[in-house]
C-alpha cells in the first residue's frame, strides 16, 4: 500500500514536471501530430518521379508512343538522348532507367518477330530499381500490346492470373508507413523522456534527495516508467484515433483493447531501456550519444524498414533482443490482419520479458551508479 502510494505521488510529480517543460511537450505534439502525418504520407510510392531516358534508334510511331506511355507520378517526362551519351549519363546518375529501342522495332513487332527492347537500370539505386523495372516493363508492354492488337488478332494468355492483396487491397503505402512511424515515435520519445527525466534529477541532485527518503529504487524507477509511459500512451491513443484512423484512414482490423494493452507492454520495455541508459550514462551528453546508438538499431531492425526474414540469418536472432521488433510484428498483426490474442502471445511475452530484464538491470545499477556520479 505504501509502495503504491509512493509510486503514485512520485509519478504525479513526474507528470507535473513534464507538463512544465514546454519544449518536450511541443516535441511530443509535433512527433505524434504533423510529424507522424508527414512521415506516413511523405514517401507515398516506392516508384515516384523516377528519371528515365530513351535512346530511339527506330524513330517510328511506336517508339514515339512508348515515350508517352511512361506517366507521372511514377516517371518524369522521358528525355531523349543519343546512344553515345548512355554510359556517361548513368555514371553521373542523371537517369535511373534508360530504354533503348532498336532499329526497325515497329516493323519487327508487326511481323511478330518479338524484337528486344534494352532496358538499362542503374542498379545502385536498388530501392527504386527493383520496383521501377517492373513498372517500366508493364507500361511499355501494355503500349506495345495495344499497338500489336491493332495489327494482329488478339493474343490470348493460356492462364489468367489474378493477384490480390490481403489486408490492404489497394496497397496504400501510408497505411503501413503510419504504423511504422508510430512505432518509431513512441520508441524515441519514451526512451528520451524517461532517460532524460532520470538524468535531470541526477544533474540537479534531487535524486539523492529521493534516495535518502524512505523510498526504494524500485519505487523511484517504477514511477518514472509509469508516468512517462502513460503520457506517451495518451499521445499514442490520440494519434491513433485522429491521425492514423481518421486522417490516413487505416481500418483497424483487430481489437483496439488488445492494441492498447500491447502498446502499454511495449512502452514499459522502452521506458525500462530509457531508465537503463539513464543509469549507465553519467551526463546528459553521454546519454544523448548512447541513445542515438540504441534508437537507430531499434528503428532500423524492427522489421518496418526491412522485413525480418530478409535480414541476414546471423542478425535475426540478435534482433529478438529488440522490443521494437516484437512490437512491429504485434501491431501489424492487430491493425492489419486482425489477429487474436493467441496469435500475438509470443510477442507479448517477449516484450514483457525484455522490459523486465532492462528494468531489473537498472535497479541493480541504480543506487550504485547514481551515487558514484559525483
Amino acid at each position: 500500500m505504501g509502495t503504491l502510494s509512493n509510486i503514485f505521488w512520485l509519478g504525479t510529480k513526474e507528470v507535473r514536471s513534464l507538463l512544465r517543460d514546454f519544449v518536450m511537450i511541443a516535441l511530443i505534439v509535433w512527433a505524434f501530430g504533423p510529424g507522424l502525418l508527414a512521415r506516413a504520407t511523405g514517401n507515398a510510392e516506392a516508384v515516384n518521379n523516377a528519371s528515365i531516358a530513351f535512346v530511339d534508334e527506330d524513330h517510328s510511331a511506336l517508339s514515339r508512343s512508348l515515350m508517352g506511355a511512361l506517366t507521372p507520378p511514377y516517371f518524369q517526362e522521358p528525355v531523349l538522348i543519343e546512344p553515345d551519351e548512355l554510359d556517361r549519363a548513368i555514371d553521373q546518375s542523371r537517369f535511373t532507367f534508360v530504354v533503348v529501342v532498336p532499329p526497325n522495332f515497329e516493323a519487327d513487332v508487326r511481323r511478330g518477330l518479338q524484337p528486344e527492347i534494352q532496358l538499362n537500370v542503374d542498379a545502385t539505386a536498388v530501392i527504386q530499381a527493383a520496383t521501377g523495372t517492373a513498372y517500366v516493363q508493364e507500361m511499355l508492354m501494355d503500349q506495345i500490346a495495344y499497338f500489336a492488337q491493332r495489327s494482329d488478332p488478339v493474343a490470348v494468355s493460356a492462364v489468367d492470373l489474378v493477384v490480390r492483396r490481403a489486408f490492404n487491397p489497394n496497397g496504400i503505402q501510408p497505411w503501413f508507413q503510419s504504423v511504422v512511424a508510430l512505432l518509431d515515435q513512441i520508441s524515441i520519445l519514451t526512451i528520451a523522456l524517461t532517460g532524460a527525466a532520470l538524468l535531470r534529477e541526477r544533474e540537479h541532485g534531487t535524486i539523492e534527495h529521493l534516495l535518502v527518503m524512505p523510498l526504494t529504487s524500485f519505487e523511484i524507477a517504477t514511477s518514472k516508467v509509469l508516468a512517462n509511459g502513460l503520457v506517451i500512451m495518451f499521445a499514442f491513443a490520440i494519434s491513433l484515433t485522429f491521425i492514423v484512423e481518421y486522417s490516413i484512414g487505416v481500418p483497424i482490423a483487430g481489437s483496439r483493447a488488445l492494441l492498447f494493452l500491447g502498446t502499454f507492454v511495449y512502452l514499459f520495455s522502452a521506458a525500462a531501456i530509457g531508465v537503463f541508459l539513464g543509469t549507465v550514462a553519467r551526463t546528459m551528453a553521454q546519454f544523448a550519444l548512447l541513445m542515438l546508438l540504441t534508437i537507430m538499431p531499434m528503428m532500423m531492425l524492427s522489421g518496418g524498414m526491412t522485413p525480418i526474414e530478409s535480414q541476414p540469418a546471423w542478425l535475426q536472432p540478435i534482433t529478438q533482443l529488440l522490443p521494437s521488433r516484437h512490437y512491429m510484428a504485434f501491431s501489424q498483426a492487430i491493425v492489419f490482419r486482425g489477429a487474436g490474442f493467441e496469435a500475438v502471445l509470443n510477442e507479448f511475452l517477449a516484450m514483457a520479458g525484455l522490459g523486465i530484464v532492462f528494468f531489473g538491470a537498472s535497479l541493480v545499477l541504480f543506487r550504485r551508479s547514481i551515487t558514484m556520479s559525483r
Binding site: E116, V121, A123, A130, V156, S157, N168, H204, M372
Partner: protein, 915 residues
C-alpha cells in the same frame, strides 16, 4: 558617480552600465572608477553582479547599455579590445573554470603561452619561472582535473600571468579554497604586486576578511554599487568596526537591518548514546582516497560543524552517513544502528539537505512540501498542520503558490530546510546549506537552525567553509584532504594553537599535518620582469601558431576522453553493420502455400515455378479457403496460391483457367515486391508452356525485354548500400562530435579563453576542426576496409580520389557541426539538433532511398545543397561504377565549396563576447 580622491590615474571606468540576462537585471546603472596601480576589491555576496561587472571590464561580456572604458579606450570598440586584450588577464569564477582538466599543468601553461604568440624558448622559461614561484613545479605533468582547489587557483593565476598583463582581473579567486592555500594565494599576489608596481588588480570576493587587506573597495548589492572607498573609510562612514557590519550597514533599509547578533543558548548536556558515530570511515575512488579513516561522535541535540575547503571530503563523508555511498572501509552508526543496514524506518528519522538545494524547481512551494509529506506518509491532517506551521515559521507563506525555481536563493534555501524538517526528523544532515547566500539570509537561516537544535533537540550536522559559521557550532571538526585534523569546540581549537582566530588555528593544524607537502608554498620568489624577455607583441591578425595551439589542445583532449573516442570509432562501425545488413530490399524466403484443387501434372508444374525459386519457400498445402485465410491472418504464410479445378484440362482446351494469388498486403513495400515475383513466376510458366506445347500464339509477348542491371548485375542491395552508408555515418558522427566539442567549452566555461585572449574566431574554430577531420578520415579508412573485406564489395574506381573526397567531405561535415554548435548552448541540444537536422537531408534527399534525380521541389533543393549527396555519389561511383578522378571531379568541386561556406557562417554567428 563615485569619485576617486586625488589625481591618481584611472585604469577602468564604468558609466551608467546596466546589464540584463533575459528579464533579470544583473547590473543597474552602475558608475565607478578603478584607480590604477592598486588592488581594488569588489565585495558582496553571490548574485549581486560582481562577476558580470568583471566580465564586462575584461571584455568577456558584451556591453549592453552604458560605457565601459579600460586602459584608456572604449571596450565596446572591437579595435580597442583587440589592441588591449594582450595587456589584460582575466581569471573567471569557479575553480579552474578556464583551465582544461584533461591537460596537465605544463600543457595548460604551454597552451596559453602559444595563444600569446610566445616562442618555444620563451614559453619554457616563463613556465619554469611561474611554476617555481607558485610551488607547482613538482607537479607539471599532473592533469588539472586531479589538482586540489588551491593548486587549481595557483595554476589559474600562472596562466593569467604568462603574458605579463597590466591589468589582472580575478573573480572570486579564493572561494572554496582551503585557508592555507588562501593565505598562500594572497602572499603570492602581494609578491607579484611588489615586483610589478604598475600592474593594476581588480578582485572580487565574498570573504569580508580578505577585503580588509585591499587598497580600495567597491561594495555591491542587487546590481548596484552601495559605496566605494578605502576599507577604513567604509567602516568609518557606517560607524562599524568590521567590514561585514559595514556592508550590512550600507544595505538599503528595505532589506531589513541585521536583527542583532545571533544568540545561541547553551546546550543542556544529555546522556545516552551518541546520535552519529563514525569509526575509521574511509572512501576511495579508484586510487584516490576522498575520505581517509575519519572518526567522530556527535551527541544528540548538538550542532556539529564540518569545516573545510571544496573537495576535502565533507560531502563524501555526509553521503556515507546518509547511506548514499557505501564506505570502502570503516563503520558509521546513526542512533546506534549501522548505516549499511539502514532501513527505511531509519531514513524517516533523518533529514538531508544536499549541496545543490535539491528542489523540484518546476513545482510550486506548496507542491514541493506536499510531495514530501506524501512520501513520508504523513496523515493529511498532520501534513496540513506541519505545512502551515513551517510556512509561518520559515516565512514562506506568501510564496506558497509560486514556482520554487523562480525564487531567490535565500528563499529556496529556506524551502529546502522546510522540506528536510517536514517529517520532524531527529537529525539533520546539511551539506553547505549557506553557500552563495548573502550575510543577512545566512543569519536568518542560522536562527532557524538554533531554534531546531535548542527547542526541538534536533541533532544538526552541518558543513561549511565560512569561519564565522563554524564559530556558531557546538563543536567542529577541521577537515583537509580527506582527513579530520582536529575536533573540539571552536574556542578550544582557537586556543589550542595559541591563535586569535579559527582561521589561524586551521592553518596551523594544516601546516602541522602536511609538512612541506603538495600544497607547500612556492620555493622561489617571482623576480621582476627581465627586460629582454619582453618579445614582440602578439599579432592581432590571423595567426597560424594560435590555430595550431587550438588544434594541438583539442587532439590531446579527444585522445584522453574514452567516451568520445569510443563513440567516434566503435559507434560508427557498429552502425555501419546495422545499416548495411538492416537495410535490404532483397525479399526472399517468402512462405507460401497452395490450395491445389486440380492436382494434375499441369498444376504441379505451375506450382513448381514457385517452389523451385530461392525467393519462395513452400509450406504445407492448404485444404480449404478458410484455412487459407486463417494462415494468412496468423502470418504463417505470406502468399497463398489458389489453383482452380480443371486447371490442366482448361489449358488444353484453350479456355484460360484463372489462378488467384493472395499476397499479404500489410507491409506495402514487401507486398509490391512479392507481387512482382509472383508475376515473374507466372510469366515463366507461360513461356515454358509455349515452348513445350508449341502453342505459339498463346501467351506470347509482342516484344521482349533485355534488362541490364548496370554495376550490380546480381542485384544485391549490399552493393548499393555498402558504399552509401559510410557517406551517412561520416556526416552523423563527425558533425555530432564537432558540435559537442565546441558546445562543451561553452558549458564548462573554457570558451572565455576565446573571448579574452587575442585569438580570432577562425583560429578557434578551424583549430578545433582539424582533429575531427583527422577522425573522419580515420573513420573513412576503417569503413572502407569493412566494406571491401567484410561486405565483399570491391572498390573498382580510384581509392586516392575517394580518399580525397572523404577528406573534403570531413571538412564540410565538421563545418556543419561547427555551424550547429554556434546556435546551441547545451551539449544535449547540440547532439539532438545535429542529429535531427541532418537526418532528413541525409537519409531522404541525398540519393540513398531515392535518386536525387527523382526528387522534386524543396526536397530536390535540400538534396542539392547538402554535402552528403555529392560524397554519396562519389562513394557509390567509385565502388560500383569504377569511376576515377575525371568522372568525380564535379563532386569534388562542389564539396570544396561547402567548406568555406559552413565555416564562414559559423565564424559570423559565433559571438566573440558573452552576452
Amino acid at each position: 558617480m563615485i569619485q576617486m580622491e586625488g589625481s591618481k590615474h584611472i585604469v577602468a571606468r564604468a558609466e551608467r552600465v546596466s546589464h540584463l540576462y533575459k528579464r533579470e537585471t544583473a547590473l543597474k546603472d552602475v558608475a565607478l572608477e578603478v584607480p590604477a596601480g592598486s588592488t581594488v576589491g569588489l565585495v558582496g555576496p553571490d548574485g549581486v553582479g560582481k562577476s558580470t561587472l568583471l566580465g564586462l571590464l575584461a571584455g568577456a561580456r558584451k556591453v549592453q547599455t552604458g560605457c565601459i572604458e579600460v586602459l584608456g579606450g572604449d571596450m565596446a570598440n572591437l579595435a580597442h579590445r583587440t589592441a588591449v586584450c594582450p595587456r589584460i588577464a582575466y581569471m573567471p569564477q569557479g575553480l579552474g573554470k578556464n583551465l582544461y582538466s584533461e591537460l596537465s599543468i605544463a600543457e595548460n601553461l604551454d597552451f596559453f603561452g602559444r595563444l600569446f604568440g610566445q616562442s618555444k624558448r620563451e614559453r619554457a622559461h616563463r613556465i619554469a619561472r611561474l611554476t617555481a614561484a607558485t610551488g607547482l613545479s613538482g607537479f607539471l605533468e599532473r592533469p588539472v582535473g586531479k589538482l586540489s582547489g588551491g593548486m587549481k587557483q595557483k595554476l589559474g593565476l600562472c596562466c593569467a600571468l604568462i603574458h605579463d598583463p597590466d591589468l589582472l582581473i580575478l573573480d572570486e579567486p579564493t572561494t572554496g579554497v582551503d585557508p592555507l592555500s588562501r593565505r598562500q594565494f594572497w602572499e603570492l599576489i602581494s609578491t607579484i604586486k611588489a615586483g610589478r608596481k604598475e600592474m593594476s588588480l581588480i578582485v572580487s570576493t565574498a570573504y569580508m576578511d580578505e577585503a580588509e587587506g585591499f587598497d580600495w573597495l567597491i561594495a555591491m548589492d542587487g546590481g548596484r554599487v552601495l559605496g566605494a572607498g578605502k576599507p577604513s573609510e567604509l567602516m568609518a562612514q557606517t560607524g562599524t568596526e568590521t567590514l561585514e557590519a559595514a556592508y550590512v550597514g550600507m544595505l538599503p533599509a528595505a532589506k531589513g537591518t541585521a536583527q542583532g547578533e545571533i544568540v545561541i543558548p547553551p546546550r543542556q548536556g544529555e546522556d545516552g548514546e551518541p546520535a552519529i558515530v563514525a569509526k575509521g570511515l574511509t572512501r576511495r575512488f579508484g586510487k584516490f582516497t576522498a575520505v581517509d579513516s575519519v572518526d567522530f561522535e556527535i551527541e544528540r541535540g548538538e550542532i556539529f560543524g564540518f569545516l573545510g575547503s571544496n573537495g576535502c571530503g565533507k560531502t563524501t563523508t555526509m553521503k556515507m552517513l546518509t547511506g548514499l555511498l557505501p564506505p570502502s572501509s570503516g563503520e558509521a552508526y546513526l542512533f546506534g544502528q549501522a548505516v549499511e543496514a539502514g532501513t527505511l524506518a531509519m531514513r524517516r528519522r533523518v533529514g538531508y539537505m544536499s549541496q545543490a538545494f535539491s528542489l523540484y524547481g518546476e513545482l510550486t512551494v506548496r507542491q514541493n512540501l506536499d510531495l514530501h509529506a506524501r512520501l513520508f506518509h504523513l496523515s493529511a491532517d498532520r501534513a496540513r498542520r506541519r505545512i502551515d506551521d513551517l510556512a509561518e515559521r520559515f516565512g514562506l507563506g506568501r510564496f506558497l503558490d509560486e514556482l520554487s525555481g523562480g525564487l531567490p536563493l535565500g528563499l529556496r534555501q529556506r524551502l529546502s530546510l522546510a522540506v528536510a524538517v517536514l517529517h520532524e526528523p531527529e537529525m539533520l544532515i546539511l551539506d553547505e546549506p549557506t553557500s552563495g547566500v548573502d550575510p543577512l539570509a545566512r543569519d536568518d537561516f542560522w536562527r532557524l537552525l538554533v531554534d531546531l537544535s535548542r527547542k526541538d533537540n534536533v541533532t544538526i550536522f552541518i558543513s561549511t567553509h565560512f569561519m564565522n559559521e563554524a564559530m556558531r557550532c557546538d563543536r567542529i571538526s577541521l577537515m583537509h584532504a580527506g582527513r579530520v585534523l582536529a575536533v573540539g569546540t571552536p574556542e578550544e581549537l582557537v586556543q589550542s594553537r595559541g591563535g586569535t582566530t579559527l582561521e589561524a588555528a586551521f592553518i596551523a593544524y594544516m601546516e602541522e599535518a602536511l609538512g612541506p607537502g603538495e600544497d607547500g608554498v612556492g620555493a622561489g620568489e617571482l623576480e621582476a620582469r627581465v627586460p629582454e624577455e619582453a618579445t614582440a607583441k602578439p599579432s592581432t591578425g590571423f595567426s597560424l601558431t594560435r590555430l595550431m595551439a587550438y588544434a594541438l589542445r583539442e587532439t590531446k583532449e579527444v585522445l584522453r576522453d574514452p567516451v568520445r573516442l569510443g563513440f567516434a570509432f566503435i559507434g560508427s562501425t557498429i552502425l555501419l553493420f546495422i545499416f548495411s545488413y538492416g537495410i535490404t530490399t532483397d525479399v526472399d524466403e517468402i512462405k507460401f502455400a497452395v490450395l491445389d484443387q486440380d492436382r494434375s501434372a499441369q498444376s504441379r508444374a505451375y506450382i513448381s515455378e514457385f517452389g523451385g525459386s530461392r525467393y519462395f519457400r513452400e509450406e504445407q498445402a492448404l485444404r480449404s479457403v478458410a484455412e487459407l485465410e486463417a494462415r494468412l491472418k496468423s502470418n504463417r504464410i505470406s502468399i497463398a496460391i489458389e489453383v482452380p479445378p480443371q486447371f490442366g484440362r482448361n489449358i488444353e482446351r484453350g479456355s484460360p483457367p484463372q489462378v488467384a494469388i493472395m499476397v499479404d498486403g500489410s507491409n506495402t513495400m514487401r507486398a509490391a515486391t512479392m507481387s512482382g515475383y509472383v508475376e515473374g513466376g507466372h510469366q515463366s510458366f507461360l513461356n515454358r508452356l509455349a515452348d513445350t506445347t508449341g502453342h505459339e500464339t498463346q501467351g506470347r509477348q509482342p516484344a521482349k525485354f533485355a534488362t541490364r542491371y548496370l554495376y550490380n548485375p546480381s542485384f544485391e542491395s549490399i552493393y548499393a548500400i555498402g558504399p552509401s552508408v559510410p557517406a551517412m555515418l561520416l556526416i552523423l558522427f563527425p558533425a555530432i562530435l564537432m558540435a559537442v566539442s565546441v558546445v562543451r567549452e561553452k558549458e564548462i566555461g573554457t570558451i572565455v579563453n576565446l573571448y579574452v585572449t587575442p585569438s580570432r574566431r577562425v583560429e578557434f574554430l578551424v583549430g578545433k576542426q582539424l582533429p575531427y577531420i583527422a577522425i573522419t578520415l580515420a573513420n573513412f579508412l576503417i569503413m572502407t576496409f569493412v566494406v571491401i573485406n567484410i561486405f565483399g564489395v570491391p572498390l573498382k574506381g580510384s581509392f586516392v580520389t575517394l580518399a580525397l573526397g572523404a577528406l573534403l567531405y570531413g571538412a564540410a561535415t565538421t563545418g556543419y557541426g561547427l555551424l550547429i554548435a554556434t546556435f546551441t548552448s547545451s551539449q544535449v541540444a547540440a547532439v539532438f539538433a545535429t542529429a535531427i537536422l541532418s537526418m532528413m537531408p541525409t537519409f531522404l534527399f541525398s540519393g540513398f532511398l531515392q535518386p536525387v534525380s527523382s526528387l522534386e521541389g524543396g526536397a530536390r533543393v535540400m538534396g542539392m545543397v547538402w554535402p552528403t549527396t555529392y560524397y554519396m555519389h562519389m562513394s557509390v561511383g567509385a565502388f560500383t561504377k569504377g569511376l576515377g578522378f575525371a568522372d568525380l571531379a564535379p563532386d569534388i568541386l562542389v564539396l570544396v565549396i561547402f567548406i568555406p561556406v559552413f565555416l564562414a557562417i559559423a565564424v559570423y554567428v559565433l559571438p566573440k563576447q558573452e552576452r
